[in-house]
Structures are given as C-alpha cells and as structure tokens.
C-alpha cells in the first residue's frame, strides 16, 4: 500500500505530537518524585559518611538529616558565602560538585556539612566535605567526614561512574571505607593526607596513621582517590583553619 506524501506528513506530525505530549506529561507528573529521589540520594550519601544507615528508609533519612546536619557554603578562602553572583541564596545541598570541578579552584563553591547532635547545632560532632576527582575510567566522588579536631577521619563514602566492577568499584564498599576510619590528615600541622597504598595485604609496618591498605588490581583507581583527597584537603584548608579556632573558642565557653 503506497500512501500519499500528505498522508505521511500528517501521520508523522500527529504521531510526534502525541508521543511528545505523552513524554512531557510523564516528565511533569513524575518530577516531584524524581526530585525527592535525588534529594534523598544526596542526603543518604552525606549521612553515610558519618553514620550507618542500613536500617533506615526514605523519610527517616530525610528527618535525620534535618535534625543533624547544618550546611554552609564557603569559598577557597574559607569565607562563608550566602548568596551567589546573581544574589540568589546558596543552598549547599543543591551545589553541583561536578560542575564546580570544571572551574578553577579559586572560583569554586565549597559546601560544608556540619554533623551535630540531634537538635543542638552547637554540639558539632563532625565536618563532612564533598570530594570529586578522576578515577581510572571516569569521575569518582564522595564525602569525607572529619572529627571536630579536623584531623581524624570519622568516615568516608565513595561513589564512581564507571570503575571496573570487582576491582576499582570496590571503593564504594564498607570494607574499603572502613580502612579510612581513625586515620589522620595532618602530621605535626603539615598536610600528609591519607594515602592508599599499592597492592593489597600490605605489611602492617607500612600502615601508619597516614597510610591504608590498597586495592589489588585497582592501582589507578587508588591513585585517583589519593589525588582527590589531597586536592580537597588543600581546597578546604582555609576553612578548616578558621573552623578550628572557632571550635576551640566554643570548647572554652563550655568549660
């Protein structure tokens, strides 16, 4: 059966309009749920750097986040920013770290998430910093939580786009992130970072408070993780210095 060109054009136009309408309808209708999913995902990641969330579900996590996290946005000099260039209020949770990563370090926005006792903003227990870098095959990112001394690692959570499953992708597992807990970032006030060694099952003598066991078969992913951590310790240095002095003042007041 051979149809006229007019028929084909009309048919195509109607089809396009129907399908396009359907898609935009679905997009609009599902948007609130999708935004909630994305929000939940971010908050889950942030909280999982400091606490174990395995038992908790959707709304519980959002509640917990509201009670225990206070966020600020700082610049490279550690100054708190409240508005962006256009005068819109900055919300730390909405800052796209990947987008910021493409800018020069001096121009980036750096969110800081302060984990405090439920309902008591003064009693900060940890500082959570987002981090971002390059793995072997694609971007890697995550959050690192430091104790109030801004030196001891309280926890990390990593994620990745396309590291090799079973090798580099293991950075997301608790087995690997637990290796960071309790390690120190500074050595006598100088940045030493926490470095993942090459290979797995390194001799215990090589594992001090700045070195953790590596991932066998994922040396390049580990290298990416090391660079990412060190970079962000440098980016957040000014903020940390300021926060440290504030923290000591608060402790003095409490005494």
């Amino acid at each position: 059966m051979q149809q006229s060109n007019t028929y084909i054009i009309v048919f195509s136009a109607v089809l396009t309009i129907v399908l396009g309408g359907l898609l935009s309808l679905a997009n609009q209708g599902l948007k609130p749920m999708q935004q909630k999913s994305v929000e939940l995902d971010t908050k889950k990641k942030i909280l999982s750097a400091v606490t174990d969330l395995q038992e908790k579900k959707g709304d519980e996590i959002i509640d917990l986040y509201g009670q225990t996290i206070e966020s600020v946005v700082v610049n490279i000099d550690g100054e708190i920013l409240e508005k962006d260039k256009d005068g819109n209020p900055l919300i730390a949770e909405n800052i796209d770290i990947a987008k910021n990563y493409k800018m020069a370090p001096e121009e980036r926005l750096y969110p800081v998430f302060k984990y405090h006792q439920a309902g008591n903003k003064e009693a900060v227990e940890a500082y959570i910093f987002p981090i971002y870098g390059k793995g072997l095959w694609g971007p890697i990112w995550g959050f690192i939580a430091l104790e109030t001394d801004l030196n001891t690692v309280k926890g990390v959570s990593f994620d990745h786009k396309s590291e090799t499953p079973g090798l580099g992708a293991r950075i997301t597992t608790a087995e690997v992130s637990n290796r960071y807990v309790g390690k120190k970032v500074y050595n006598d006030g100088k940045l030493a970072s926490v470095v993942m060694l090459k290979g797995e099952n390194n001799a215990a003598s090589n594992l001090d408070e700045h070195h953790i066991d590596g991932l066998s078969g994922a040396t390049l992913t580990a290298k990416g993780v090391n660079e990412m951590l060190e970079n962000y310790f440098i980016y957040y240095k000014e903020y940390m210095n300021k926060a440290k002095t504030n923290a000591t003042e608060k402790v003095a007041l409490l005494n």
């Binding site: 048919f11 089809l15 359907l22 898609l23």
Partner: protein, 214 residues
Amino acid sequence: MVEKKPAEPVLSKRRKKFVSDPLNDDNPITVQVLGICSALAVTTQMKPTLTMAISVIMVVVFANLIISLIRSLIPSRVRIIVQLALVATLVTLVSEVLKAYQYDMYKELSVFVGLIITNCIVMGRLEAFAMANKPWDSILDGLGNGLGYSWIILAVAFFREVLGSGKVFGWPVFEAIGIQNFPTNGLMVTPVGAFFILGIIIWVQRTKTGYVEH
C-alpha cells in the same frame, strides 16, 4: 475476511505457541542471538537484571500492542521511524518511572535502560510480528519474547553473581550454608564471564533441541 469463523479461544493452542516458542525453541537470545549487548552488560547481579528484564517485557509488550493497533494506519515508507519513535517513547517512560521510584536502580542501570531502544528484540518483534498480526496475538508474542529474554539474562546473572560475588540477590549464600571464604571468580564479574555462561547455555540448549545453524 469473507466468511465469519467461530471465535478463537483466548488462549488457543496456536496462541499458546506465541508465548512458549520464544522461551526455548525460538529464544531471542540463544537461538536468534539478539539482545546480546545488554545480556552481557547488566547481568553482574540479579537485582539490576530483574529490573532490566521487567523493563524489557513492558516495552516489548506495549510496543507490540500499539504498533499492532495502528498497523493499518502506518505508512509503510516510514514504518521503521514510526516504530523507533514509539519504542523510544516507551523506553523514556520506563526510564522516567525508574528515576522517580527506583532511583538506586536507575543509577545502576544508567545507560542500559536507554539502550533498550537499540535492543534488536524489540524492533525485531515489531517488524516481524506486530506489523502483520492482531493486537492480542501481538501482546502474547511480546510477552513470550520478553520472557524468553528475561529467563536467559536471569540465568546468566544467577551464575555470575553466585560465582563472582558469592551472592544471590545480594544475599550471601555460601556464608549461609556454612562455607566461609568461598573463592569468588573475578572473571565472572567482568563481561567476559557472561560470554562463557551464555555460551554454555546455548551449547546445552542446542544439544537438547537439536537446533543447527543453516
């Protein structure tokens, strides 16, 4: 249609074959060797594989139904584009729904949900079946092919997850039956592992059915 035939039962013998044939004798993956790409890519674990299987069944059933309903309206010169547009729309819908209600799965499957569009099984069934058959028959055909695809990728995923990670649906089986330190095989986690398992499934199946490539 000149003379009126008595109505065919909803699940006549002929129609049952639409569902049962693709499960074994005419399986889209093992016999027609279609949809291999996703069979390799998403089958590291059972959970994402199940999501993928359900998504493909939804897409192929609805695409078959809709194309079959409008088959006499579709201008034959642009039929492939029409099919493609419809499949792309359905796949985008599935992807949007996953993003809203199963965000973790959505992230894990990432591009592979979108790539259902290029899964040859879907377009293949539209062109080979839905363009020439009635809606109900097309639904059954879509269901059969969707299930045929699903059971194969789930079987592959089962062996890959058990041997590669020692788990089934993320549940550690070997620890449960008292075997600690089960030596997992890293090869199974990579796509190469899927090739081996798929190859073995095809081998066993062809030995049993006696199917030979011509």
